[in-house]
């Protein structure tokens, strides 16, 4: 070809491409085949109220639905917990509905466990399989060989599962969540003889002292507390509430504080008691509060003698002056509020440390007062010892005494393997999963009966620790189910009626929707009497039952009152797994703000949400103090191996100035073996590093009590960040 022809031809091609790119073609207008019968107007959106079940906070949501498709999720302004606000995780539940890897119909395992070879079966076949297994158990008089594993459930779903297991005759219903607030319930049971969760009146307080409670990210009811924190800072004209955060790693919550006390891990309880002692010694405590709690200042001071400032300063690695200053400020400001969080509770001395923090609240006299702590009305009681139930169930499974396990959720990912759970589950002959994605647990299951997405489900959602008034949020399906799935409770009901007998008698209703409606009718029946149908529609329209008067009264009547004669908290020296010589660094695992404990990992919106502190996307990482990193020759983005007595993981390093030099931190949430294309094989699950038998003691949920060491592997950590955590790029070139 001649040069000239070539140039001519390429010029013409370019011009053609340019014109083709600019021109537009006629689009298609696709009508409905059959118009939907629910009064759908094309082009006009309908908003449905529902509730979010992503985390236990249970915020109210409004979902915009256009032509039968859910398009956008917003907070419900009427809902007392989130007041129209919603977090990123709540926004992302749309992607649960439209996930491309959803299990579209029941599956039966054909290959080896974990191979992912499944065969599609019909619902009648799937239900027959399950019913057959359960009938076999009944026939062999071995009803207690059935186990049900769920997250901690509340409301009608909890009643249903309890009735189901009770009528079947098996006591092995495990309600376990990695982050469940059992520790708070236990502390409250001991101190106040009621296992309710606290509601902190953050908005009204003037001095907030948080011991590892990351309430902006995930602690109890994050949307409610983030909102209340904003009001504490900015709502009042003359007061801007002060906030001190105490904990070894600077979380997003800590970064919002006025002062950060990076105490040594495990020393927070002692620190709280040292503050309490100082407040007592200087007579700064609330005069009425001590006698009301059955305490005398003199005796209390004697009881806390071990926690003198000098010793605790050494223990915590903080300055004496610093501790004393915070203690005096806390005591001198009224109302002042102390919170304890997961970073403290998941230590070996956690339960006592939490009680120590509550002691500060008692001294400040803020129990049942504005700006203080109230019992939460939503969950007056709940599991207090689910970890020990888990351990005993694991033993039973290991011994081969569980024949059928029904699993809702993904415990294989969210239970530390050190408990022996994976091996125990492998010993169960028949495992049923209800996951809507092929997650780690579903991959090991023999039968998968896929659940609806949250936006296709009925339900009632009682918010956890988010309000003082009784609230029942209602979930309603906002779209027609996309696939041939069924709701988990409806499957249980179908099985119960298939088995008949005592089970069918215990669960007379045939659909979960009817059960929820019946439960609500019972609640409002006393107030409104006749014509429940109209009330029901109205309740669905506004998103639930908010603040009924009988609930309000109950919340007021049962305030916190210290049990007289209860022992003083004694946060002993913390224990750690791993020898100090071999494993010099404390490991903290914390829920990622986007992925929570891992249930957000399948949603690309959450994967690409930069972590607010490190800006990392689509990965997990280990945070290392610059000083520690320099001594080990590690720089930002290097691949490092984190080794604990329990195992080893390889992760990219993030050089993080806001963490103690003797600590490293890894976020939870990644490291799935399954759960769809966006989560599979991404990052690492730090739970694999955790030990549960610490220094030969009984297993305990001490997720932050493992020590690790770091080894640099290579420079190729392949870390992707949205920004430069070390400040702006080459900022040393800019002269100030």
């Amino acid at each position: 070809m001649k040069r000239r022809t070539f140039l001519q031809l390429s010029g013409m091609t370019a011009a053609g491409a340019l014109l083709a790119g600019c021109q537009s073609k006629n689009e298609k207008l696709i009508p409905f085949l059959v118009p939907p019968n629910e009064g759908v107007t094309p082009g006009l959106a309908t908003w449905y109220a529902s509730a979010c079940r992503f985390c236990p906070a249970g915020c109210g949501i409004l979902v915009r639905v256009s032509e039968g498709r859910a398009k956008k999720v917003e907070g419900n302004p009427l809902h007392p917990v989130n007041k129209g606000k919603l977090c990123a995780r709540g926004q992302a539940i749309l992607q649960e509905l439209y996930h491309p890897d959803r299990v579209a119909q029941p599956l039966k395992r054909t290959g080896a466990r974990g191979s992912g070879d499944f065969q599609r079966i019909s619902w009648s076949e799937g239900l027959a399989l399950l019913t057959g297994q359960l009938t076999a158990l009944q026939r062999d008089k071995a009803a207690d060989r059935l186990a049900l594993l769920t997250p901690q459930l509340r409301g009608t779903l909890s009643e249903l599962t309890t009735a189901f297991m009770g009528a079947f005759g098996s006591p092995y219903h495990l309600s376990f969540d990695l982050l469940a607030p059992d520790w708070l319930r236990r502390a409250n049971r001991l101190n106040f003889s009621q296992a309710s969760l606290p509601f902190y009146d953050l908005a009204e307080t003037r001095y907030l002292l948080s011991f590892g409670a990351d309430f902006v990210e995930y602690h109890l009811s994050p949307v409610q507390y983030s909102n209340a924190f904003g009001r504490m800072r900015q709502e009042r004209d003359t007061v801007r509430g002060h906030f001190t955060y105490c904990g070894g790693r600077m979380s997003l919550t800590a970064a919002s504080a006025d002062r950060w006390l990076p105490a040594r891990p495990g020393s927070e309880g002692a620190l709280a008691l040292a503050m309490a002692r100082l407040i007592l010694a200087e007579g700064l405590y609330d005069r009425d509060a001590l006698p009301a709690g059955g305490l005398g200042a003199e005796a209390l001071l004697k009881g806390l003698a071990a926690y003198d400032l000098h010793r605790v300063a050494e223990l915590s690695g903080l300055g004496e002056g610093q501790i004393a200053e915070v203690a005096r400020e806390f005591a001198a400001t009224r109302p002042a509020l102390a919170m304890a969080g997961e970073a403290v509770a998941f230590q070996t001395n956690g339960p006592e440390a939490v009680r120590a923090v509550q002691m500060l609240n008692l001294l400040a006299g803020n129990l049942n007062r504005p700006g203080g702590v109230y019992p939460d009305a939503g969950s007056p009681d709940g599991p207090e010892n689910s970890f020990h139930e888990l351990i005993s169930l694991v033993e039973r499974m290991q011994a081969g005494r569980i024949g059928v396990a029904l699993v809702q959720g993904d415990p294989l990912h969210s239970i530390p393997p050190a408990t022996g759970f994976p091996q125990a589950l492998a010993k169960v002959p028949f495992v049923v999963s209800f996951s809507s994605l092929l997650d780690d647990t579903a991959l090991q299951a023999d039968l998968i009966l896929p659940d609806h997405a949250a936006l296709e489900s009925w339900g009632d959602m009682i918010p956890l620790a988010g309000t003082r008034e009784g609230v029942i949020g209602l979930m309603q399906p906002v779209v027609t189910p996309l696939f041939d799935t069924r709701q988990f409770p409806d499957v249980l009901l179908a099985v119960a009626h298939g088995l008949g007998g005592a089970l069918a008698a215990a669960l007379p209703r045939h659909s979960y929707q009817d059960m929820v409606k019946g439960a609500l009718q019972k609640r409002v029946g006393r107030e409104r009497g006749e014509g429940f149908e109209a009330t029901w529609v109205e309740l669905l329209r506004q998103g639930g039952l908010f603040g009924t008067s009988d609930n309000r009264d109950r919340g007021r009547m049962k305030g916190y009152r210290r049990v007289p004669g209860v022992s003083l908290p004694e946060p002993a020296q913390p224990h750690f797994a791993g020898d100090k010589q071999d494993f010099p660094l404390h490991l903290q695992v914390y829920p990622s703000i986007a992925l929570y404990d891992g249930r957000g990992a399948p949603f690309p919106w959450l994967q690409q949400l930069p972590d607010p502190m490190t800006t990392v996307v689509w990965d997990s990482w280990v945070e290392i103090n610059p000083q520690t990193a320099a001594s080990l020759g590690i720089s930002q983005g290097d691949l490092v191996e984190v080794t604990s007595p329990q195992g080893a993981l390889r992760l990219p390093a993030v050089i993080y100035p806001a963490i103690r030099p003797d600590m490293v931190a890894i976020p939870l949430g990644q490291g799935h073996h399954g759960m769809g294309r966006y989560a599979t094989g991404r990052g690492a699950n730090p739970l694999a590093l955790l030990a549960t038998n610490i220094e030969g003691k009984d297993p305990q949920p001490a997720w932050n009590a493992t020590r690790v060491r770091l080894t640099r592997i290579s420079a190729k950590g392949e870390l992707v960040t949205a920004g430069n955590t070390q400040g702006s790029f080459r900022s040393e070139l800019i002269e100030m």
Binding site: C22, S24, I30, P31, P35, G43
Partner: protein
């Protein structure tokens, strides 16, 4: 002398060519959308809206309350044509779509870019006749776009009717 003239003329011609090219790109109908696209079924608006005088809103029923006028569902077409000339060839095509459970892929004749918000219901409420924008559809066998649907055309009508010409009225 002659050479300089030649160069001068060449420069002028080149400038002219570039200007003509630019003008061509400017005036060229880059919008190659059919004004009267062929439809999968030879639906006659003249027969329905003209001869039989069926009101527009009988089929485009969401025009009074939604930004979009809506096109009838396949089930709606079928509902009448089960009884009305069911043996005509075009109706057989329609029934074919119904039997295959396929929606009819109509081709859009009137389209606005995504950055324009055009609500049908507001124009109906302002008592504008459908034909103001869509032309005398009742006389067309196949729908043909009569309006340019360009911004100047919108503004002309808005000015004439003293409707808002604020940017945010349409570009929201």
């Amino acid at each position: 002398m002659k050479k300089t003239w030649l160069v001068g003329v060449l420069v002028v011609i080149m400038i002219g060519v570039v200007a003509a090219g630019l003008a061509l790109v400017y005036f060229l109908p880059l919008d190659l959308r059919e004004r009267s696209p062929l439809q999968p079924i030879d639906f006659s608006h003249k027969l329905h809206a003209g001869t039989n005088a069926i009101p527009c809103l009988f089929c485009h029923r969401s025009a009074t309350r939604s930004p979009v006028a809506g096109i009838p569902a396949v089930a709606d077409c079928r509902a009448c044509h089960q009884f009305i000339s069911p043996d005509a060839p075009e109706i057989r095509k329609l029934m074919g779509y119904w039997d295959r459970r396929e929606p009819i892929p109509w081709v859009r004749g009137h389209a606005l870019p995504d950055f324009v918000y055009f609500p049908h219901m507001m124009h109906i409420r302002a008592k504008l006749a459908c034909s103001t924008c869509h032309g005398e559809v009742a006389a067309m066998e196949r729908v043909t776009r009569t309006a340019s649907l360009k911004m100047g055309w919108c503004l002309g009508c808005h000015r004439q009717h003293k409707a808002s010409i604020d940017c945010w009225t349409c570009h929201i």
